[in-house]
C-alpha cells in the first residue's frame, strides 16, 4: 500500500489544548449519554464512540466550516466539532424540538448544511454516495473544500461503499474516506465479514491510496488527515484512511458484548487515546494540573448545561408528526 506523503505539522500549545478539550468533551458527552440511557432518561438507541475519539478529533480538527463531514452512528463528536452546540445535540437525543430533527429522530440522522454536516439515514454506507455528491459540487465549483466521510469496517461491505468510492475515484473527488475499524460490526468480528486484514487495501480497487494507521493516536490521525486533506484540496483526489481502533461499550448501550473477551477489552483500554495524549502534553509542558482542571470543569459545565437545557426543552407538538414532508 503506497503511504500517503508524511505531512509535517506544528501545532501551537493552544491548538494542542483544544484537541485535548475535544477528546475529553466527546468522551464525556458519550459517557453522560450512557448514564442517561441507564437512567431511562434517553430512550433512543445510543451508539457511543468511547475509545474512538482520536479519530474524530484528528480528522475534524482544523476543518473549515465549508468543508463537509458525513458521519455515521458513532460520530456524534464530529457534530460538536463542526459547530453544533452541545445543547442541540443533547436535545436531539432527548427528541426535543431544540434538537436537529425537532424530535423526529434521535441519533445522527439529521444534519446542518450551513455547518457542513450531512446527517445520514441508518443505512450503513448510504452516506458515502452523498459524500461523493457533495465532493462533486466542490469540484464543479473549483473550490478547495473537502468532504470527510466516515464508515465502520462493517459498512465497507455494503454495495453503497463500493459504488461511492468508485465514483469518487473516477472523478478524483476531494474526499477523505475515514474507516473506523473497531474490529467488530455489532457482534461480527472482522474476519467473519471480510477476508482481508486492512480495509485500506480496498482503495486500490478504486485507483487511490489507502493507509492503515493507529486510530487511537490523535496526532497520527491528524497527520494522516492533513496529508489526505491537502491532497484533496489540491485536486489530487480521494484518500482512504483506515483507523484501527476499538469501541469500549457494546454496539449500542443495550448490548452486553459477550462476543468479546475481557482481555481484549483491557488490552484496548490500555491504548486509550486520552491518557496517551495527556502524557504527551504533560511531557511537553503544554498541560499542567491547573489547565487540565479548567478544561475538565468547562466540559462538565457544558454537559450539565446541555442536559438541563434538553430536559427542559419542549416536546414537539403532536401534529408535527405530519409536517415537513414536502418543501
Amino acid at each position: 500500500m503506497p503511504p500517503i506523503k508524511r505531512t509535517k505539522f506544528k501545532l501551537a500549545p493552544e491548538q494542542l489544548l483544544e484537541m485535548f478539550y475535544w477528546l475529553k468533551l466527546i468522551r464525556a458527552f458519550d459517557e453522560r449519554l450512557s448514564i442517561l440511557v441507564k437512567q431511562g432518561q434517553v430512550r433512543s438507541g445510543v451508539y457511543t464512540g468511547i475509545g474512538q475519539e482520536a479519530i474524530i478529533v484528528g480528522t475534524c480538527f482544523g476543518l473549515r466550516k465549508e468543508d463537509f463531514i458525513c458521519p455515521l452512528h458513532r460520530d456524534l463528536g464530529s457534530f460538536l466539532m463542526k459547530g453544533v452546540e452541545a445543547r442541540v445535540m443533547m436535545s436531539q437525543m432527548f427528541a426535543k424540538t431544540t434538537g436537529l430533527s425537532k424530535g423526529r429522530d434521535s441519533a445522527l440522522h439529521s444534519g446542518v448544511t450551513e455547518l457542513g454536516i450531512f446527517g445520514n439515514t441508518s443505512m450503513l454506507g448510504a452516506n458515502l454516495p452523498i459524500a461523493a455528491g457533495l465532493g462533486y459540487t466542490f469540484k464543479m465549483e473549483k473550490v478547495d473544500n473537502v468532504v470527510v466521510a466516515y464508515f465502520g469496517e462493517g459498512a465497507s461491505n455494503t454495495g453503497d461503499f463500493h459504488e461511492a468510492l468508485n465514483f469518487a475515484g473516477v472523478q478524483q473527488l476531494p474526499i477523505v474516506f475515514i474507516c473506523e475499524n473497531n474490529q467488530y460490526a455489532y457482534s461480527v468480528p472482522l474476519e467473519k465479514s471480510m477476508a482481508i486484514d486492512d480495509v485500506a487495501i480496498r482503495a486500490e480497487g478504486y485507483g487511490f491510496d489507502g493507509v492503515a494507521i493507529n486510530g487511537n493516536d490523535v496526532l497520527a490521525v491528524y497527520q494522516a488527515s492533513l496529508g489526505a486533506i491537502a491532497r484533496a484540496r489540491a485536486g489530487d483526489g480521494p484518500t482512504l484512511i483506515e483507523c484501527k481502533t476499538y469501541r469500549w461499550h457494546g454496539h449500542s448501550e443495550h448490548d452486553k458484548a459477550f462476543y468479546r473477551t475481557d482481555e481484549e477489552l483491557a488490552m484496548w483500554k490500555s491504548r486509550d487515546p486520552i491518557p496517551t495524549f495527556t502524557t504527551y502534553l504533560r511531557a511537553r509542558h503544554v498541560l499542567d494540573d491547573d489547565k487540565q482542571k479548567a478544561i475538565e470543569e468547562r466540559i462538565t459545565t457544558t454537559i450539565d448545561d446541555a442536559v438541563e437545557f434538553a430536559l427542559n426543552a419542549p416536546d414537539p407538538a403532536p401534529e408535527d408528526a405530519v409536517t415537513d414532508l414536502y418543501a
Partner: protein
C-alpha cells in the same frame, strides 16, 4: 397439546423445528450466529446447527438475499434475516427482480423457496429506520407472498408454512409483538396455511380487517362497541399476499360494512387494495363506504409524542367504527 410462548420464542421454535426436520433449511443474516440476532430470535441455533447452517454475514443485504436465492435454486430453503425490516430496501432488487420473477422467466421450471424475515413496525421508539412497514412494496410485486402474523401461534405456524412454501415469502415479524404477544403455541408440527385469514371475533354489524400489531387495538375497539350493542367481526388477515378474499367477502356479506386498519401508511397501503377489490366485486353488498384507519402519510418519528400521534390506536379505531356503523 400446546404451551405458552412469546411471539419471538415461537419464531425461534419454528426455525429450530424446521431446521431439525429438513437439513436443507438454514438461516443467514447479520449477527444471527453466536449472538443470536439483534432481537435474540436465533439464539441457540448456532450451538445446535453450527456455523454452516447459521451464517453470520457481512453487512450486505443484497448479498444476503442473493445468496439465499442461489441456494434455493439448488433445493435449499434459506431463511434470511434482515436486522430490521427497514434495511430490506438495500436488498430490494434481489427480491423484486430476481426472486419474484425467476419462476416466470424460467417458464415454470424452477422456484425460489426463500423466506426473508423482516422485523417490522413501530411503537418501540425506533424512529425512521427501525419502524418501517414495507409490506405494500412486496404485495404489489407479482411472484411474492407476504405474511404478517399477530400471535405466537400464527408466528410459528406461518413461519413453518413459509419455509415449506416453494415461493419467495416476505415474513413480517412485528417488533412490538416480539415479547409482548404471548400465547399458546402447538407442540407439534402444526402449520398455519398461507392465504387463510382468522376470525378473531365474530359479529354481524361490521367487519374489521387488520393484521399484525393492529389486531389487539382492533379487538379492544370492538369490545368497546360491543358495550354499545354493536358487534364487530374482527378478521386477522395473517397473509397479506395472497389475502383471503373468500373470508373477507363472507364476512362482508353478513355485515355490509368494512373498516380496514393497518399500521402502514395510508396511500397505497394494503387498505387501498382491499377497498378497491370490495368496491369492484361487492359494491352492492355495501351499506357504507369501506373506511381506513392507518398511519398517516408520513415517516415514523422517534419522539413518543409524535409516534403516538401517528399510530392507529383503540380510540381512533373506535371512532372510525362508530362512523362506519352510523353511516
Amino acid at each position: 397439546m400446546s404451551k405458552e410462548l412469546s411471539y419471538l420464542e415461537a419464531i425461534r421454535e419454528a426455525l429450530a423445528e424446521e431446521m431439525r426436520r429438513d437439513p436443507k433449511v438454514f438461516v443467514l443474516g447479520e449477527d444471527v450466529g453466536p449472538y443470536g440476532g439483534a432481537f435474540g430470535v436465533t439464539q441457540g441455533l448456532y450451538d445446535e446447527f453450527g456455523e454452516m447452517r447459521v451464517v453470520d454475514t457481512p453487512i450486505s443485504e443484497s448479498a444476503i438475499i442473493g445468496v439465499s436465492i442461489g441456494a434455493a435454486l439448488r433445493g435449499y430453503r434459506p431463511v434470511a434475516e434482515m436486522q430490521f425490516a427497514d434495511f430490506i430496501s438495500c436488498g430490494f432488487d434481489q427480491i423484486v427482480n430476481q426472486a419474484a420473477t425467476l419462476r416466470y422467466r424460467y417458464g415454470g421450471r424452477a422456484s425460489v423457496p426463500i423466506v426473508v424475515r423482516a422485523p417490522s413496525g413501530g411503537n418501540v421508539g425506533g424512529g425512521l429506520y427501525h419502524s418501517q412497514n414495507p409490506e405494500a412494496w412486496f404485495i404489489h410485486r407479482p411472484g411474492l407472498k407476504v405474511v404478517a402474523p399477530s400471535t405466537a401461534w400464527d408466528a410459528k405456524g406461518l413461519l413453518k408454512a413459509a419455509i415449506r412454501d416453494d415461493n419467495p415469502v416476505v415474513f413480517l415479524e412485528h417488533k412490538y409483538l416480539y415479547r409482548r404477544a404471548k400465547g399458546p403455541v402447538p407442540e407439534g408440527d402444526e402449520i398455519v396455511p398461507i392465504g387463510v385469514a382468522a376470525t378473531r371475533r365474530e359479529g354481524a354489524d361490521a367487519t374489521l380487517l387488520t393484521y399484525g400489531a393492529m389486531v389487539t387495538p382492533s379487538l379492544e375497539a370492538a369490545d368497546r362497541l360491543a358495550k354499545e350493542g354493536v358487534e364487530v367481526e374482527v378478521i386477522d388477515l395473517r397473509t397479506l399476499m395472497p389475502f383471503d378474499k373468500a373470508a373477507i367477502f363472507a364476512s362482508l356479506d353478513k355485515t355490509n360494512r368494512v373498516l380496514v386498519v393497518h399500521e402502514d401508511v395510508k396511500t397505497l397501503g394494503l387498505g387501498a387494495e382491499l377497498s378497491a377489490v370490495i368496491m369492484e366485486e361487492k359494491f352492492d353488498a355495501l351499506d357504507a363506504p369501506v373506511l381506513r384507519v392507518t398511519y398517516p402519510d408520513t415517516h415514523a418519528p422517534f419522539s413518543h409524542v409524535l409516534e403516538a400521534f401517528n399510530l392507529p390506536n383503540t380510540d381512533k379505531i373506535t371512532a372510525a367504527l362508530r362512523t362506519l356503523v352510523a353511516y
